[in-house]
């Protein structure tokens, strides 16, 4: 197990001999591999994107440039799906069943199945900064299946938001994988943030959770694209929950939100229906428009995170910044948009 000379300490690192900048891995090379849909580049991509070391940040930017819409000649092909919901709603069992169906169904029919990357965001950070990432254990998959990639990350130090690395990773992995799932915990704030990254947002609730109805009606909760009610095996309760939720959505005039009832315990039920609902939603939206809006929102939030209110004032306020972003080339990635804002602030 002794590390060969020049090999990094972390797994999946590129040999540092191949890197161009201060022994950081070669971000552009990793990005190119993702663009060529080399799934084995995923661990190295995540290791790099999570690093805040200055050399690594430059390489991260290089990686992201390689998978930017401009480099891809359009939007990344992967479908980014946000799955969020309160603890105990059955997200992990649901994800196991989904994974199985995505990988297996087509496989059985002689096809390849869809490749899946999952980013599990764990909220359990402590004051020590450390966290316990145990979620992947609950998602069953064949460990030798190279078409599956699961990475758990702590929510990070950026209060109330998805870690920058998670957003960047979702974009990057969408270049290589057919499906990218971002799993987060919570109801209320969480799905708003996921909505800034995901093409489709699913909220998972268990039967009888009346608070979700309250959140929907009061507007605390952003309206999901798909509402999943788990534990259909509970029978009557699940059926009446679905009725209540559907009625609430109709009363809000939101008939476009699909409601699916699933059971993840054997025999699983509703999983194919849910996958169909994801696909129908993706087909129904203007993907380029949704992602462009997300990139601009992310760029502004990254800029503010970096430069604060003073930075925003240097641009002439939020509306001016938004106008500026709207004038940029649509295929620019988030980092390029942030750079554009920074240049404008410096010029101003």
């Amino acid at each position: 197990m002794s590390a060969s000379p020049g090999t990094g300490s972390t797994t999946g690192r590129e040999p540092s001999g191949a890197s161009s900048n201060d022994h950081s891995p070669d971000g552009a090379a990793i990005g190119r591999r993702l663009r060529e849909r080399d799934l084995r580049a995923a661990p190295a991509a995540l290791n790099l994107l999570e690093s805040v070391a200055p050399g690594d940040r430059e390489q991260s930017a290089a990686l992201l440039r390689e998978v930017s819409p401009a480099a891809l000649g359009g939007e990344a092909p992967g479908h980014v799906i946000g799955v969020t919901g309160p603890p105990g709603a059955g997200k992990s069992t649901l994800l196991s069943a989904l994974l199985h169906a995505w990988r297996g169904a087509a496989h059985a029919a002689g096809g390849q199945g869809r490749t899946v990357a999952m980013l599990a965001v764990d909220p359990s950070s402590r004051r020590s900064g450390g966290s316990l990432l145990g979620d992947r254990a609950r998602i069953e998959f064949d460990p030798t299946d190279r078409g599956v990639f699961i990475r758990s990350t702590s929510a990070g130090e950026r209060l109330g938001g998805l870690a920058w690395a998670t957003r960047a990773a979702a974009h990057a992995l969408a270049a290589a994988f057919d499906i990218v799932v971002i799993e987060t915990v919570g109801v209320g704030q969480a799905e708003t943030e996921v909505a800034d990254v995901a093409d489709t947002v699913a909220v998972v609730v268990q039967p009888g959770s009346g608070d979700v109805l309250q959140f929907l009606k009061s507007g605390i909760m952003e309206i999901p694209d798909v509402l999943v009610i788990t534990k259909a095996d509970l029978g009557q309760i699940a059926t009446s929950s679905r009725r209540d939720v559907s009625a609430a959505l109709r009363s809000l005039g939101l008939s476009s939100t699909r409601t699916v009832t699933v059971s993840s315990v054997p025999p699983p039920r509703g999983i194919e229906e849910l996958i169909a609902a994801f696909d129908v939603h993706l087909a129904s939206i203007d993907l380029g428009e949704r992602r462009l809006r997300a990139r601009r929102a992310n760029a502004l939030s990254d800029y503010i995170h970096e430069h604060g209110d003073r930075g925003l004032r240097a641009l002439g306020g939020r509306s001016a910044a938004e106008r500026l972003l709207a004038k940029q080339e649509p295929l620019l990635d988030t980092a390029a948009l942030v750079t554009a804002l920074e240049h404008s602030a410096a010029d101003g």
């Binding site: 020049g6 972390t10 797994t11 966290s131 990432l133």
Partner: protein, 674 residues
């Protein structure tokens, strides 16, 4: 009754061991099964690798059971089986073996441990999710009360809770809550069977209550431990009268067997464990009103590895000296009227009732598994912290540690039994032969019958079938342990128990050492560019997760990102996690003695996945195995001697830091390959 917990290698070898022990004056059998048998896998399953015949005997089919009990008259024997998830299956094999000896099932005496909640909480040999597991238990109770009336279908275990760190109050409260969950499930069966016949239902419920026995632990604080047992007796009687309407004093008696504490036994100066065992035995024998029915003692060298026949003989002799040489058994209850003892009991009762109320608020023991698990991990964390700080003295370990060379551990194997690795290959061969020689059609039919009975739950119109019936039929037909369990897994789904580490609270106010460790971790984070990430893995079927849990909690408290997925992982799963999660270091924990096979297998899988992160190993690793593990590529090995977890963390931080040198961060750029 005097027993030693025994079984290893093969059914034939264990049979010889049992006959030898019976000849030495032992009065019952206590069967230890290997982990594949306990968790429902055949010897040729990938997960069984390295575990066949290790911690007990492999019993794969009725032929193995017949060999195991060969020449032992089952009509007279009292057999205790430490078996839980697969208890229904092993009882079925035992019934079939008796049948073959011409002994009817109603004459069989003994106990199946069959306590699944403590498997989720502490011991880890579960096979099915909680709800169907409870159904199996209720089915066994219903079956044995009617057909095997002298059998104890379940032994509620508080033993393992203490091993997992439970305080006396937690041990009492969780054991009683567990009993309530079982009895409530059994009561439903009783009421179904005797709808509208209240008197008959009450009578049957009394019998069911009377068949529940306990398996408890006794630690070295033997006065308090004795008080604990008195408190349990009081609570049990109260529970019987008030919750289940039991009136017959015979049924209300708190019956328990005991294995004294293993957690407190040390690897350092292991000879001291003998006096610990003696004192712990006093806890369960001193006062007649709370005296154990059956006692089994661990061997002095348990913290080192598997005991040999001589080590077990020594434990048996301890009991014999106490029973036959001392005056221990000559008096009525010696604590009667003791104000101090009564006060201690009252204090424990108060604490236990309060904690039972918390479990009830969570919806009972089944629903409260995550809560109880978190509480146990936290108690254990505090215990370790007390030992680390010297507040709790462990002689020979954190005090009086100087020692002369021990002649007891001086032989080539280091004073333990080593199971011949060839046995696994033989057993794999044997099970394949068994499968090829049996009537496959009969097995297939029996298993599909079992599957149908198990799935019947979905149809509320049909009364639920008792799973013991198709289980016994499958045993008779020649099905294997793995086939029986796989059939039920396919119907019930598989399950991973909560790890408890997320719920366990951290160090609220870090002490100086932890603060220093956090600073080290934070400096390492600067160098790595991201938070140091550790994978804590438990390969194989070993369910003893205390060590892994405590490492995980401390790593988190020191500021690392910790990937901990619980027990029972294959080398391929560990390698996939390490690769995908991008961890900087991998910690593996094994206590079952299978490190010789499993650690190299994991390292090979990591290598094939291209993972270069260093591997450290913790567990019961005999000195003579350390060099071989290092040869295989392990960076460091930790054993129970290394009780200071903060020190282990320092080592790990240093190890990761040293590897990081090759990479060179922006501030400290040593050239690549330096």
């Amino acid at each position: 009754m005097m027993r030693t917990y025994a079984g290893h290698s093969t059914a034939k070898a264990s049979n010889e061991l049992y006959r030898g022990n019976l000849a030495k004056g032992q009065t019952g059998l206590s069967v230890a099964f290997d982990l594949p048998t306990q968790t429902g896998y055949d010897p040729d399953d990938e997960l069984a690798r390295g575990e066949v015949g290790k911690v007990g005997v492999p019993v794969v089919h009725r032929g193995d059971m017949a060999t195991l009990m060969d020449g032992i008259p089952l009509g007279e024997m009292n057999t205790s089986m430490t078996i839980n998830a697969t208890a229904a299956w092993l009882l079925a094999l035992y019934i079939v073996a008796a049948e073959e000896q011409g002994v009817p099932e109603e004459e069989l005496q003994g106990t199946t441990q069959n306590d699944i909640i403590k498997e989720f909480l502490a011991r880890g040999t579960y096979a099915f999710p909680p709800a169907p597991s409870m159904r199996l238990i209720a089915d066994m109770i219903a079956y044995t009360v009617e057909h095997v009336p002298k059998w104890n279908p379940i032994n509620i275990c508080s033993y393992h809770l203490q091993e997992a760190g439970a305080t006396p109050v937690q041990e009492i409260a969780y054991a009683m809550s567990n009993a309530i969950a079982v009895l409530d499930a059994a009561r439903e069966r009783v009421e179904e069977a005797h709808a509208g016949e209240e008197a008959a239902a009450r009578e049957l419920m009394g019998q069911v209550f009377g068949r529940i026995s306990f398996f408890v632990n006794a630690g070295v604080r033997f006065v308090e431990e004795h008080a604990k047992l008195r408190a349990m007796g009081i609570l049990w009687e109260e529970l019987g009268r008030e919750r289940y309407g039991v009136t017959d004093p015979k049924h209300l008696r708190f019956r328990y067997g005991v294995q004294v504490n293993s957690l407190g036994l040390t690897e350092a100066q292991p000879e001291n464990n003998v006096q610990r065992i003696v004192l712990e035995t006093l806890a369960v024998t001193l006062g007649r009103d709370a005296r154990a029915r059956a006692i089994q003692l661990p061997a002095w060298n348990e913290a080192l590895g598997l005991p040999r026949p001589w080590d077990q003989q020594w434990s048996l002799r301890i009991q014999q000296v106490m029973a036959y040489e001392t005056d221990l058994l000559e008096y009525p209850d010696i604590f009667e009227g003791s104000v101090v003892m009564d006060g201690l009991v009252a204090e424990l009762l108060d604490g236990a009732r309060a904690e039972m109320a918390v479990v009830a608020e969570h919806g009972g023991a089944v629903e409260a598994v995550p809560y109880m698990k978190g509480a146990l991990v936290d108690s254990h964390r505090q215990r370790i912290h007390r030992i680390e700080s010297g507040e709790q003295v462990v002689v020979g370990q954190n005090r009086f540690a100087e020692t002369a060379v021990s002649p007891l551990t001086d032989d080539a194997e280091g004073g333990i039994l080593v199971v011949d690795p060839a046995i696994e290959a033989e057993q794999i061969e044997a099970v394949r032969r068994w499968r090829s020689e049996r009537d496959q059609g009969a097995v297939d039919a029996a298993l599909s019958d079992l599957a149908r009975a198990a799935a019947g739950e979905d149809d509320p119109a049909r009364p639920q079938e008792n799973l013991m019936i198709p289980t016994i039929a499958a045993a008779r037909a020649g099905a294997t342990t793995g086939e029986w369990a796989r059939t039920l897994r396919e119907v019930f789904g598989s399950y991973r128990a909560p790890t408890g580490v997320g719920e366990a609270s951290g160090h609220e106010t870090p002490d100086a050492e932890l603060t220093e460790l956090r600073e080290e971790v934070s400096r390492l984070k600067e160098r790595l560019g991201r938070r140091p990430k550790i994978l804590v893995g438990k390969p194989g079927l070993d369910g003893h997760s205390n060590g892994a849990e405590q490492i995980a909690v401390r790593a988190r408290d020191s500021g690392m990102d910790v990937v901990y997925e619980g027990i029972r992982l294959t080398p391929a799963q560990i390698a996939a996690s390490a690769l995908q999660e991008g961890v900087h270091v991998i910690g593996l924990s094994i206590l079952s003695g299978s490190h010789r096979e499993l650690i190299p297998a994991v390292i090979k899988a990591l290598h094939e996945a291209g993972v270069t992160a260093p591997v450290v190993v913790g567990g019961i690793i005999p000195d003579q195995d350390v060099a071989a593990l290092q040869q295989a590529g392990v960076a460091a090995v930790y054993t129970p001697k290394d009780f200071d977890i903060t020190r282990i963390m320092h080592d790990i931080v240093e190890l990761v830091g040293a590897r990081a040198n090759g990479r060179g961060s922006s501030t400290n750029g040593s050239p690549p390959g330096a």
